[in-house]
C-alpha cells in the first residue's frame, strides 16, 4: 500500500527534553534529596543548590479538553508552562518559585482539584474504562473510583496513614492497570458462565482458539444446527471471560450477577518487603450504581482498621503479615468463606503447612 507523500509515520513520541522545565534540565541527575513541605507539595534540592517545587493535584483521569486547557493556563501562570502527570494520573506543576505554591493550590482547589497524594497518603486510584468504553466491563470504573475517593479524600489531602496506601480498580479479570499488586484492589467479577450466542458463533469465532482460551478447559466442541459450535461445562467455569475476549458470541455481562470483589495486601515497591499479590478479602458485592455504597463501606472499613492498627511504615500487606490473616478477618469483621481458600493451580502452596497458630 503506498502512502501519501507527506504522511508522517513512526516518529515516536515528542522528545521529552523539550518538555522539561529549565531548572530540571539544569539539575537533571543532580538531585540530592527532597523534602515534603506539605501534603501535595514536594521540594527537591539539587547539588547546585537549586530547589524545585512540585504541587500535585488529583484528577479524575478522564479529563475534558476544557480542563486540560485550564491546567495549561495554571502552568503558564505559575510554573513557566511546565507540568506533568504521574504514574497514578495526578497532575504535577513544577515550580521554581515557592511563592507560587499557595496561589496555585488555591486556584486548583477552587476549580475542584484536591491537592495532596504525596507521602503516606492514599493517592489517586489507578483504574480502567468500565462502562465508559470497554466491552468486557463487569462494572463501571470511574463511578466507583469517585464514590470511594469521596469517602477517603481526607487521606489524599492529608498524609496521616502508617504508610502509602495504593488502591486500584479493574472492571474485569483482564485486570488492566495491574490491580493485582495493590494495597486494596477493587475488581469487577462475573458469576455466571457465558451465555452462548449459538446462532452467530460459528460465523464470528475461530473455534479452536475459543476452546484453547479457557483456563479450566470448560469449553468443549459441540454442534449447533449442524454447524460446529461449543458448549460450556458449567461446573468447570469460573467466569473469567477469557472466552469472550476471543469470541463475541460468549457473553457474560449480567446486571444481577456481575459485581465486585475486594482484594488486599498487595504491593509493588521493594521497600522493606518484596512485591506481592493482593489477596481476596471480600468475594462479592453487588453492582449498585450510582454510588456503590457496599463497596465504599467495605473499602473504608478496611482503611480504617488498617489505619488504627498498623505500625508506622507498615504497608497493608506487611501489617497483615505481622498480625496474620485470621486476625485480619477478625478485626475487619469480614467473613471468611470457602471462596477465600485457593483452589487454582498453586493452591497447595497457600495452605497453612505449619503448626504456627494464634488463638
Amino acid at each position: 500500500m503506498s502512502e501519501p507523500a507527506k504522511r508522517i509515520t513512526d516518529i515516536g513520541p515528542p522528545p521529552y527534553e523539550k518538555f522539561l522545565h529549565p531548572l530540571i534540565k539544569k539539575n537533571y541527575g543532580k538531585w540530592l534529596y527532597h523534602e515534603r513541605p506539605a501534603p501535595g507539595v514536594l521540594c527537591h534540592i539539587s547539588e547546585t543548590g537549586d530547589k524545585l517545587y512540585t504541587v500535585r493535584a488529583a484528577t479524575p483521569r478522564l479529563l475534558s479538553i476544557q480542563t486540560i486547557r485550564m491546567f495549561a493556563d495554571l502552568a503558564d501562570k505559575y510554573s513557566g508552562g511546565y507540568l506533568r502527570f504521574t504514574s497514578r494520573n495526578n497532575v504535577e506543576f513544577l515550580l521554581d518559585n515557592p511563592d507560587n505554591i499557595e496561589p496555585l493550590k488555591k486556584e486548583l482547589l477552587a476549580a475542584g482539584f484536591l491537592v495532596g497524594g504525596t507521602n503516606n497518603s492514599i493517592s489517586n486510584i489507578v483504574h480502567t474504562q468500565g462502562w465508559i468504553h470497554c466491552h468486557s466491563a463487569a462494572t463501571d470504573a470511574s463511578g466507583i473510583v469517585k464514590a470511594v475517593m469521596d469517602a477517603l479524600h481526607d487521606h489524599f489531602t492529608e498524609s496521616k496513614l502508617p504508610a502509602k496506601l495504593r488502591i486500584a480498580l479493574a472492571c474485569c479479570l483482564n485486570m488492566c492497570g495491574a490491580v493485582h499488586c495493590s494495597d486494596i484492589a477493587i475488581l469487577g467479577v462475573h458469576r455466571k458462565p457465558p451465555k452462548i450466542k449459538r446462532d452467530v458463533l460459528s460465523k464470528v469465532c475461530e473455534i479452536p482458539t475459543l476452546i484453547s482460551s479457557c483456563p479450566t478447559g470448560a469449553i468443549r466442541p459441540a454442534t449447533f444446527e449442524g454447524k460446529p459450535s461449543v458448549e460450556v461445562i458449567e461446573e468447570q467455569c469460573m467466569y473469567c471471560a477469557n472466552c469472550y475476549t476471543v469470541c463475541p458470541a460468549m457473553t457474560l455481562n449480567d446486571p444481577d450477577n456481575d459485581g465486585l470483589s475486594i482484594w488486599v495486601g498487595g504491593k509493588v515497591s521493594n521497600a522493606r518487603s518484596a512485591p506481592r499479590f493482593s489477596k481476596l478479602a471480600v468475594p462479592f458485592l453487588p453492582n449498585n450504581p450510582p454510588r456503590w455504597p457496599e463497596v465504599v463501606d467495605a473499602v473504608v472499613n478496611i482503611v480504617d482498621v488498617y489505619a488504627r492498627n498498623a505500625r508506622k511504615f507498615e504497608r497493608m500487606g506487611e501489617w497483615i503479615d505481622r498480625i496474620g490473616w485470621p486476625r485480619f478477618f477478625e478485626l475487619t469483621g469480614i467473613e471468611f468463606t470457602r471462596y477465600h481458600i485457593d483452589d487454582f493451580k498453586h493452591a497447595g502452596t497457600t495452605f497453612a503447612r505449619s503448626a504456627h497458630l494464634k488463638f
Binding site: P60, R61, I68, Y82, H135, S213, C240, P289
Partner: protein, 399 residues
C-alpha cells in the same frame, strides 16, 4: 436524546457531588459543545440504570500502515445514541515521564476538539495519552494532525506496547540510571515493533529508577528494568544525626524495618553492613538527606510480569541481577532481540513471555536465550527431585 443533559443523567448527577474531582463533570464540560460526549453521557446513564455496559465486542479499526494504536468500539444502542455509534479510542505515545508544556497540551486539545469527543484519559494505564472516542472516518485525520504536531500512536494488540518510565533523574535523587532516556531510546528504536503486530501477544517494557518501582514495572511489564547499585550506600553521618535530633526513631523506624537487619544504630552512629543489604530502599526513603544509593549504579532486568489471564498473574523475576548503567541500553536491546526471536518462534498464540517460561521451564528458556543460570534468579533451588538430567553426546554432564 434530549437537549438538556442534566435532566437525563439523574444517576450520574449523584457523582457530581462530593469533594473528589468528578469525571461526570468532565463529561458534562465536554458535552456542552460536543455531541459525542453528550451521547456518551447518555449511554453511560443507561448503563447505570441497567447495571450493564452498552458496548459491542470491539472490532478492528486503525490507521493506514499501522496495526494498532486504535481500540475499535461500537455502541449496542446506536439508535438511542447515534453519536457514539462508532466510538474508537486512540492511544498516543506519551513523552517519557509524562512531561508536557502548556503549549503541547493545547495542541493536543485542539486536535481532539476538531476530531473527537473532547474527552481524554491522562493517561491510560499503560501510559498512553488516550483520546477517548471518535468516529471511524476521523481516525486518519487525527493521526495526521498528531504526527504534524510531533505525536505518534502508541501500541495495541500483539505488539511492543508503549514503554513507560518513572520521572527518574528529571526530579528524583534516587534514579540509578536515566529512566527517561532509556525509555525514550527504546521507544524510538522499536517503532516498527510498536506499530506492526509481529509477536504472539503483547510485550511491555517499564523502567523504574530504583527499587521503589514508581511505574510498577515488576507487576506489569514483561521486561521490568529496575535501578539498583552495586557498591555501598552513600552515607552522610551528620545528616543522620540531624534526623535523629529532629525526632526520627532510627532504631524503630529505620533499622527494625530493614529486611535483612543489616543496620546497627547505637544512638550516635549508624553502621550499615552493606554486604547484607538487599537494596530495598527503605532506609534511604526514610532519610533521603542522609543516605543515597551507591555510586556504582545500574539496573536489574526482570522478566515476565502480567495480569491473571490465563494461568494466574505473574510478577517479573530476576533475569540479570546487575547491568551497569553505561551498558544498560545495549544489554536490553541484545536481550530483547534474543527473547523476541525465541518467543516469536515458540510462543503460542496469546502467550505472554512469562507464560512461555512457565510452560517450558526457566532452564530451557535460559538455554534458548543463551543466559547462564545464577542463584539470584530464584528464591530457593528446587525442592522436588524431578530433574531432567541432560547428557551431552560425549557423555559429559550439562551444567
Amino acid at each position: 436524546m434530549g437537549d438538556d443533559t442534566k435532566s437525563n443523567t439523574k444517576l450520574l448527577d449523584e457523582l457530581e457531588k462530593g469533594p473528589w474531582p468528578s469525571f461526570v463533570t468532565e463529561m458534562k464540560k465536554a458535552a456542552e459543545t460536543n455531541p459525542m460526549a453528550k451521547d456518551l453521557l447518555g449511554q453511560l446513564e443507561l448503563s447505570y440504570e441497567e447495571r450493564i455496559g452498552h458496548w459491542k465486542h470491539g472490532g478492528i479499526v486503525g490507521v493506514m500502515g499501522y496495526g494498532g494504536g486504535v481500540i475499535g468500539r461500537y455502541s449496542d444502542v446506536p439508535e438511542k445514541f447515534p453519536n457514539v455509534a462508532h466510538f474508537h479510542t486512540l492511544r498516543i505515545n506519551h513523552p517519557s515521564g509524562w512531561f508536557y508544556t502548556s503549549e503541547a497540551l493545547r495542541k493536543l486539545c485542539d486536535i481532539w476538539e476538531r476530531h473527537g469527543s473532547g474527552l481524554t484519559n491522562m493517561h491510560g494505564s499503560t501510559g498512553d495519552i488516550i483520546f477517548l472516542g471518535t468516529k471511524t472516518n476521523e481516525l486518519e485525520p487525527v493521526f495526521q494532525e498528531l504526527t504534524q504536531a510531533g505525536f505518534d500512536l502508541g501500541g495495541s494488540g500483539s505488539v511492543l506496547r508503549t514503554p513507560s518510565c518513572c520521572v527518574g533523574q528529571a526530579r528524583c535523587e534516587w534514579a540509578c540510571y536515566d529512566t527517561m532516556a532509556t525509555c525514550d531510546s527504546l521507544t524510538r528504536a522499536y517503532q516498527d515493533e510498536i506499530h506492526r503486530p509481529a509477536f504472539p501477544y503483547k510485550f511491555k517494557i517499564k523502567c523504574s529508577g530504583c527499587a521503589n518501582d514508581c511505574v510498577a514495572a515488576i507487576a506489569r511489564a514483561d521486561l521490568s528494568v529496575i535501578g539498583t547499585w552495586k557498591d555501598d550506600i552513600q552515607q552522610d553521618d551528620a545528616a543522620v544525626s540531624e534526623y535523629a535530633a529532629a525526632g526520627l526513631d532510627i532504631q524503630k523506624d529505620v533499622c527494625d524495618h530493614c529486611p535483612t537487619k543489616c543496620m546497627q544504630w547505637d544512638g550516635k552512629k549508624l553502621a550499615i553492613n552493606n554486604r547484607e543489604c538487599v537494596r530495598c530502599m527503605h532506609c534511604i526513603n526514610v532519610m533521603p538527606k542522609a543516605l543515597k544509593p551507591g555510586k556504582e549504579k545500574g539496573a536489574t532486568l526482570l522478566i515476565g510480569a502480567k495480569a491473571p489471564i490465563m494461568q494466574g498473574a505473574l510478577l517479573s523475576s530476576v533475569l540479570i541481577p546487575f547491568v551497569p548503567a553505561a551498558e544498560l541500553l545495549d544489554t536490553i536491546k541484545e536481550l530483547v532481540s534474543r527473547i523476541w526471536d525465541f518467543w516469536s518462534e515458540y510462543g503460542n498464540n496469546r502467550e505472554r513471555v512469562g507464560e512461555l517460561i512457565q510452560r517450558i521451564g526457566m532452564p530451557a528458556f535460559l538455554d534458548a536465550i543463551g543466559l547462564d543460570p545464577v542463584p539470584e534468579m530464584v528464591t530457593a533451588p528446587r525442592d522436588n527431585p524431578y530433574i531432567f538430567f541432560q547428557t551431552k553426546e560425549d557423555g559429559q554432564e550439562t551444567k
